[in-house]
């Protein structure tokens, strides 16, 4: 008998099982292949725009992804470094051998966590409550809560051209029964599609014909607890190349052979990650499309051809790849494929990630309709935390949209549902100036400590950082610039206008052209870079940040307008019928959540508000 069973050892399952064990639950992680735990079946990178911020959030909450990425990457860079602080995000090229290996070690060293190889084919359910799982061999394993993180394994179908092979990713065993069982329990199953491009043999690539993309020379870490442990000069590059008219012609000539255009696939693919044939059909005026070659691992000889995913048959893929500059003689080690899989309609999930129909069943990752390792990890850790909290009889832990990208992700899923694999984008977050990569600890570690997922030491570090930020801010506010000849010289040297005498350093820092690093050259600022960065951002963007906080307050009012769980939407007359259906399905907890449901328009919200007021007053 376990407290919590996690089914699936992908990025969601890892975080879910790890955090559940950290919180003292007797936890079992079941994977169909132990060697594949922490595997990266698609791109060899972790992080990226918005996603990198999720990695930091997972880390702030006590998760593993960032820590392992830090010690297994081949290259790391800060994206959008030339843009504002709100949109910066880390991305690394992770070694596909090292990352899973180190992750498996970390899990093995996690107390309370048992790992088992098996294929789960059914759940044990009594009175709409999950009590355990049944494996393919018929073994029954009991638990108080079950977290499903099955990725693309549910009825996976691999599509290459017109061939359709039942399979998990990489030709792994797929899980045949579980989604049917879920359907029998009353869950709605949706079918999604995603794809992965070709892998190319390194020795067959002519890199001299491509543009080299190097890692940053500034050292970075995902984890707030790690110090950089790699040599910035010894990173591995990626390469940029382009499609050309020949490539496009090959694709156009063979369009009907592709699984997607030939009508062999039924799943809905992601718009933001289109196949190359999609790009060429939809953006026919573009003469070329960008592609990247990314190293997969130091331990084998394959490169990942990002941007070239396709469901064309293999002979066409050969022609397509060989039309690319530098890949004329390329040896394709793995062909691109599309994979279709079953997921559950996320509208059936509560914000805690618990299922609305089956109590004590939690789901995270691709089974909830998302895409991406980071999105999976973010949900995984939340599912693990919430399952633990429920078993402990505590309140659920819901991140608000103004707390974290993870909050935005889950709210979007459970409120709006999805018809394509959901990928996080910075534009999905309305408070992105608050949700920065640099303040993930400030945003989330208080919560984490309260729940018990970070150590006292980590918490103390947070408190020290907070205190230092305050100190530095006050110092800058209460100390004033005294202009002397030396200063005049420094400003002149740096081509800066000489400020007024007696201006506070804080006001000086507000000037666009003055950085905290420059300030450090004229006054002694003895604080860490992280502290300096916080103060700089909070000073320079104070107006915008305060405005965002005001918006958060406004939203909070709507969030506080709760909709009673027993509301009967059929009694609310004058609701548009589409809105009525959506509301019945989503069961929003608050007016704010209701207003975010697509298909529920402002007029419906007014009607609903009026109804609630009327009903509430009557009671």
């Amino acid at each position: 008998m376990y407290d919590i069973i996690v089914v699936g050892g992908g990025h969601a399952g890892i975080e879910a099982s790890h955090i559940a064990a950290v919180l003292g639950n007797k936890t079992l992680l079941i994977s169909s292949n132990l060697n594949n735990i922490g595997d990266m079946p698609c791109n060899p990178s972790i992080g990226g725009t918005a996603k990198g911020i999720i990695v930091r959030e997972v880390d702030a909450l006590g998760g593993l992804m960032g820590k392992i990425a830090d010690v297994s990457h081949l290259q790391i860079k800060m994206l959008n470094n030339s843009k504002g602080p709100a949109v910066r995000s880390l991305r690394c090229q992770a070694d596909k051998i090292t990352y899973p290996k180190k992750m498996q070690e970390a899990l093995k060293n996690t107390e309370n966590l048992t790992i088992k190889e098996a294929m789960v084919e059914d759940l044990i359910v009594e009175n709409n409550m999950v009590k355990g799982v049944i494996t393919k061999l018929g073994e029954k394993i009991m638990a108080k809560a079950v977290i499903l993180t099955t990725g693309t394994y549910l009825k996976g179908n691999i599509l290459v051209g017109s061939t359709n092979t039942p399979s998990g990713p990489h030709g792994e065993k797929r899980c045949d029964n579980l989604s049917d069982c879920l359907k029998d329990y009353g869950l709605k199953i949706i079918r999604l599609k995603t794809g992965t491009p070709q892998r190319i043999k390194a020795s067959s690539i002519d890199f001299t014909k491509m543009q080299e993309e190097k890692g940053d020379l500034t050292p970075w870490t995902f984890s707030l607890d790690n110090k950089p442990s790699y040599d910035v000069h010894n990173q591995h590059s990626c390469y940029l190349l382009y499609t050309n008219e020949v490539t496009h012609q090959i694709i156009r000539d063979n369009l009907e052979k592709s699984a997607m255009y030939g009508g062999y696939a039924t799943g809905i693919g992601p718009r933001y990650c289109p196949s190359i044939e999609d790009k060429i059909v939809r953006f026919s005026d573009k003469p070329r499309h960008q592609l990247f070659l990314e190293p997969e691992s130091l331990y084998y000889d394959e490169w990942y051809l990002q941007g070239f995913s396709t469901s064309m048959p293999v002979d066409v893929q050969e022609k397509m790849v060989h039309s690319l500059k530098g890949l004329e003689k390329a040896i394709i080690t793995k062909y691109a494929y599309a994979i279709e899989y079953d997921a559950i309609d996320p509208l059936q999930i509560k914000p805690s990630l618990e299922n609305k129909i089956l109590a004590n069943l939690y789901t995270a990752g691709q089974i909830n309709g998302t895409s991406g390792y980071e999105e999976a990890a973010g949900q995984g850790i939340m599912a693990g935390i919430n399952a633990s909290l429920k078993l402990a009889g505590k309140d659920e832990f819901i991140l608000k949209r103004s707390d974290a990208y993870i909050g935005v992700l889950i709210d979007d899923l459970v409120t709006k549902g999805t018809i394509e694999p959901y990928r996080m984008l910075t534009s999905r977050a309305e408070f992105r100036l608050l949700l920065r990569h640099d303040n993930a600890d400030l945003r989330l570690r208080e919560y984490a400590y309260k729940i018990g997922t970070i150590t006292k030491e980590q918490y103390n570090n947070l408190l020290i950082k907070k205190e230092q930020i305050k100190q530095l801010e006050e110092y800058l506010k209460n100390n004033y610039l005294k202009i002397n000849d030396n200063l005049k010289e420094i400003f002149k040297e740096n081509n800066l206008d000489l400020p007024k005498n007696n201006m506070s350093y804080y006001d000086l820092l507000k000037r666009p052209e003055i950085s905290i690093n420059f300030l450090s050259t004229i006054i002694n600022i003895d604080y860490s870079n992280e502290v300096k960065e916080q103060v700089e951002i909070m000073t320079k963007y104070a107006g915008y940040i305060n405005k965002a906080y005001k918006e958060v307050e406004k939203l909070k009012k709507l969030e506080e307008k709760e909709i009673p769980e027993d509301i009967d939407y059929n009694k609310v007359n004058n609701l548009a019928s589409e809105a009525k259906q959506k509301l019945i399905k989503v069961k929003p907890k608050t007016i704010a959540q209701a207003s975010r449901i697509s298909g529920v328009n402002p007029a419906d919200i007014s009607v609903l508000t009026v109804y609630l007021k009327k009903e509430y007053n009557r009671r």
Binding site: T49, A50, L79, N80, K83, G84, P85, A86, V87, E213, L240, K286, R288, H289, Q290, F292, L425, T426, S427, L433, P512, E513, Y541, Y544, K547, K557, L558, N573, N574, A576, I591, S595, N601, P602, A603, D604, I605, S606, V607, T609, V610, Y611
Partner: protein, 451 residues
């Protein structure tokens, strides 16, 4: 919301036909209870039936009944309109009968409120309907009709679409920073974008000023030293134009002494008693009320005496008034010229007197000229007209100004974008595409009864 409402849709005066409107799920059923033509319950939508309204056995009126079934009606609910044979008593009797038979008296603006809540019209259109009902002049009515047609909504929606494209471009740059083939919104591009948005918004704001003038008219204050002839000028203007009414409450908090229409625009003369009745006008300028009047009036007619030199206190008064809304009326030009007209050469002034009414027509021309009253009406009429709308559009403009400021401060594009997105949201709120909580109650409390 689910009950059936009724109201008299036409003005309650003695006239040939008055219309009673019923809307709600039981509209047809309730009318059928008092209507002799038994086809009513089953008649197809959008048909007219002939019959009698009966109170038990007594025939009240011979009527035509228009039946419009949901959803193709103004409120999107079942709607019945009873065309009665006019007459205050008959109409009221029919109304009473309906109230007795399951209908509820409609609240102010409730038909339009339902039309909005049921998704039939946008917020802006809903407000325009209110304006239409309250329109005092033909120009105001035509303005309101234009808004109902959604011309303004269309204008704003176009601007929003344009902004959405820019926003989307910026988002793409953020989410796909390494895709060099996408156009990058640089500071240079941003400058152009901001200019374009600013011009578009300003056009709407300027239009909104005209819209307000069309809707509310110009508030005019007549000021001047004692005995320069203020009252005669006022009386002349009011008499000449057969003043519509006196002592009607104006749209400002001040009392309007009387109104005239000039080129289709209302001129509301504000009670300037506070200024007029004192002997020393300059002393009175210190009085709050006077200051307020001078500030709030759209047009100030300052009356001077042709036959006297300009007094010091008059000079100060002239200085204290915004030149753009000042017209100096130099009265009594039938007497000897003593005033030094050179001192007034920078101001708009007209000469005249109230004995032979010389020059007062010129005053009217001057007003028309100064406020472009001629142009306003014949221009396209997509103007914002009420305080909430103008407030929102100004807020949007303020956000764009902030974006401009951020641009000049060399803020990152994604920070500048925050202001543009906010402006975009505000415009959405203006045309009812975005939701804020108190909005609806606010708007509908301003509605008049009937529609």
């Amino acid at each position: 919301m689910d009950d059936t409402i009724v109201a008299i849709a036409t003005a309650l005066t003695a006239q040939a036909i008055s219309i009673i409107r019923v809307s709600g799920s039981e509209a047809i059923f309730n009318v059928a209870k008092i209507f002799t033509n038994k086809n009513l319950l089953n008649t197809p939508s959008h048909t007219i039936l002939y019959g009698h309204i009966k109170d038990n056995d007594e025939v009240i009126d011979e009527v035509l009944v228009n039946v419009m079934r949901s959803p193709k009606t103004y409120t999107k609910e079942d709607t019945v309109e009873i065309n009665c044979h006019g007459g205050i008593k008959t109409t009221q009797k029919v109304l009473e009968l309906l109230l007795k038979n399951g209908c509820r008296m409609a609240e102010a603006g409730e038909f339009t409120k339902r039309a909005f809540l049921n998704g039939r019209i946008s917020l802006l259109e809903a407000e325009a309907v209110n304006d239409l009902i309250n329109a005092k002049t033909d120009a105001a009515r035509s303005l309101a009709i234009n808004n109902v047609d959604g011309l303004l909504t269309k204008k704003i929606r176009n601007l929003r679409d344009k902004m959405a494209k820019i926003l989307a471009n910026i988002e793409v740059n953020i989410d796909y920073p390494e895709y060099e083939d996408e156009v990058e919104v640089t500071h240079e591009l941003m400058e152009d974008y901001l200019k374009d948005i600013t011009i578009n918004l300003k056009n709407i704001v300027n239009g909104s000023q005209n819209g307000r003038i069309i809707k509310n008219g110009l508030n005019v204050a007549i000021v001047g030293s004692p005995n320069v002839g203020k009252s005669s000028i006022l009386n002349y203007l009011l008499d000449e134009e057969k003043a519509i009414v006196t002592d009607i409450p104006g749209t400002t908090r001040d009392i309007v002494e009387g109104s005239i229409t000039l080129n289709g625009i209302m001129l509301n003369f504000i009670d300037t008693a506070g200024i007029r009745e004192t002997n020393d006008i300059v002393e009175q300028i210190g009085v709050n009320k006077s200051k307020k009047i001078l500030k709030e009036a759209d047009l100030i007619l300052l009356v001077l005496n042709y036959n006297e030199l300009i007094k010091e206190e008059e000079k100060e008064l002239i200085k204290s008034i915004d030149k753009n809304k000042l017209i100096i009326v130099i009265n009594k030009n039938d007497l000897e010229l003593k005033i030094n007209l050179d001192e007034l050469k920078d101001y708009d002034y007209v000469l005249g007197n109230t004995i032979d009414l010389d020059g007062l027509d010129k005053l009217k021309e001057k007003i028309i000229d100064k406020y472009n009253l001629g142009d306003i009406i014949y221009n396209d009429m997509a103007y914002l007209t009420n305080v909430r709308q103008i407030d929102l559009i100004n807020k949007a403009l303020e956000e764009i100004n902030n974006a401009n400021k951020a641009y000049l401060e060399n803020m990152p594009i994604d920070i500048i974008e925050i202001n543009i997105k906010e402006a975009w949201n505000i415009l959405g709120e203006l045309i009812g595409d975005a939701y804020t909580d108190e909005l609806v109650d606010n708007i509908f409390s301003n509605f008049c009864l009937g529609k």
